[in-house]
Amino acid sequence: MEIKKEATRDGFGKGIVKAGSNKDVVVLDADLAESTRSIKFKEKYPKRFFDMGIAEMDMVGTAAGLAASGKIPFACSFAVFATGRAYGAMRLAAISELNVKIVGSHAGIGTGEDGATHQSIDDISLARTLPGMTVIQPCDSLEAEKATLALVKHKGITYLRTTRSKIPIITKENDTFTIGKGTLMMDGKDIAIIATGTLVHLALEAAGELKKQKISARVINIHTIKPIDKEIILKAAKETGAILTAEDHNIIGGLGSTVAEILTENYPTKMKRIGINDEFGQSGKPDELYQKYNLTKENIIKNAKALLRRK
């Protein structure tokens, strides 16, 4: 059976249209509505959609004022701009404990041809260092749709990270989505692969291959990077004794760092981080870039085996 593929930004597009039934939801975009898929909301609710021009700081600052007036604003742009360009406004909204939803699409090097300037490898890091911030990266379109709807009900500042490329839908319609809860995608006892976003389906494929080679790998999907599900991580560490993380983000400051912080303080475990090794990306097709920067099933398998040898 062919697995359906869709980008997580499309899941956001579907979710935000459904979210529109709540009259308090308003959407802002900085001239990327087509790309972020916020255009779906604009088409259905034009009066509650605001083009802010190419001015991300102003967009997030305006969203803060809307939130202070009882609205639930979703402020959308590319991840690199929604966080980096708007950092000051995001930080002030966090200090203000305002219900601002920042949505960054085109996250990671998977953004592709636009090159390093447009590939956010630092956005999770920027967002998660802010007190009170919730950081979410869905692993497929279906999860992105559920995450968007969950954010409407969630009070507080949040960052939703979505991606450009079509990836397999690996979750199910009736799977529940709970902010702050990791999900066990495949059980295993030799090693645990903790992944987020576009790397979750690759982790599952790697675990499938490892199984054929008699290695039992657990796969955990971390859609909420902050507040992170410590319980599921520590349980995996205790039960498998080897943790491999995988993400399309710098290995500094993202999921790998977060997991390392938890393990180091609570249950030191042999681990390895797969991600962007503290360098900027470049232009290329998303698939080519994933090969070049080792965000592949093969690299996960290789690192899993190397880690097992260190156990």
């Binding site: 305006t62 004022g65 009882g70 609205k71």
Partner: protein, 273 residues
């Protein structure tokens, strides 16, 4: 029509506010008296005459809002809020101290009456646009006032926001530029000139009114004019004097972020006019 009784009453309040600013910053031995004093007369006109608001219901959805984008003028805001009954005047003595609700720069989650957390310059106008936009969506008739500084207008975000307010025809927004011509490192024109600032805002499609920011008649008239302007936002460019009302501080950049010495306070308070 000049209402002398009203103006004399407001001037008396302004004397109290200025004394509160001096006392609080002296107790804290830090803070920003210069830019608080230049903003005082305008803020007094807003809080004690123009704006509909009540300390009994700080979150009344229909209240008029004041957003102090130049958040370092917090002592003036706190004094106006305290004198309006939002919290005890005595609490002004806790300014900038550990555990106080009166943070160095205003924080909306800490103190009732503070509409927006501000201080990192350039951000308040975007916030005010958001509040004004919400008012339009909800068809409410509240008014949003936003005070920005002239040094602050060197921030690019001010001009991003200045494009937003006329684009969305936010005639429920009135911006006030506290044009005291001084910033930390000296004269605004020397540090980085913002002139011709009046022409800039005109070009951005604001209704622009220029006044003497210490002349009550002009302030009150300009605020009424802003109400009458439909289809575009208003900016009142208020020419002010940094340190106004305290002779030893007037027109001196050094009083931007320095409190007077405890031994000087009595003399300073006596000199307030």
């Amino acid at each position: 029509m000049v209402d002398n009784k009203l103006i004399n009453n407001l001037k008396d309040i302004a004397i109290k506010i200025r004394k509160n600013i001096l006392t609080a910053t002296t107790k804290a031995q830090s803070g920003h008296p210069g830019g608080s004093l230049s903003a005082t007369d305008i803020m007094v006109c807003l809080y004690f005459h123009k704006m509909k608001h009540t300390s009994k219901k700080p979150d009344d959805p229909n209240r008029d809002r004041f957003i102090l984008s130049k958040g370092h003028a917090a002592p003036a805001l706190y004094a106006c809020l305290a004198q309006s009954g939002y919290f005890p005047v005595k609490e002004l003595d806790t300014l900038r101290q550990l555990g106080s609700r009166l943070q160095g720069h205003p924080e909306r989650i800490k103190l009732p009456g503070v509409e927006a957390s501000t201080g990192p310059l350039g951000q308040g106008l975007s916030f005010a646009n958001g509040v004004a936009l919400a008012g339009k969506i909800d068809k409410k008739d509240y008014k949003v006032y936003c005070m920005i500084g002239d040094g602050e207008s060197q921030e690019g975000m001010i001009w991003e926001a200045a494009m937003t307010s006329p684009h969305y025809k936010l005639d429920n927004l009135c911006v006030i530029l506290d044009h005291n011509r001084l910033q930390i490192d000296g004269k605004v024109e020397d540090v980085k000139n913002i002139e011709p600032v009046k022409d800039k805002f005109k070009a951005f499609n604001f209704n622009v009114i220029e006044i003497d920011g210490h002349n009550y008649n002009e302030i009150l008239h300009a605020l009424d004019q802003a109400d009458k302007t439909k289809g575009k936002p208003t900016i009142i460019i208020a020419n002010t004097i940094k340190g106004k009302g305290v002779p030893m501080m007037e027109n001196k950049a050094e009083w931007h972020g320095k409190a007077c010495k405890p031994g000087e306070l009595d003399k300073c308070l006596e000199s307030v006019y």
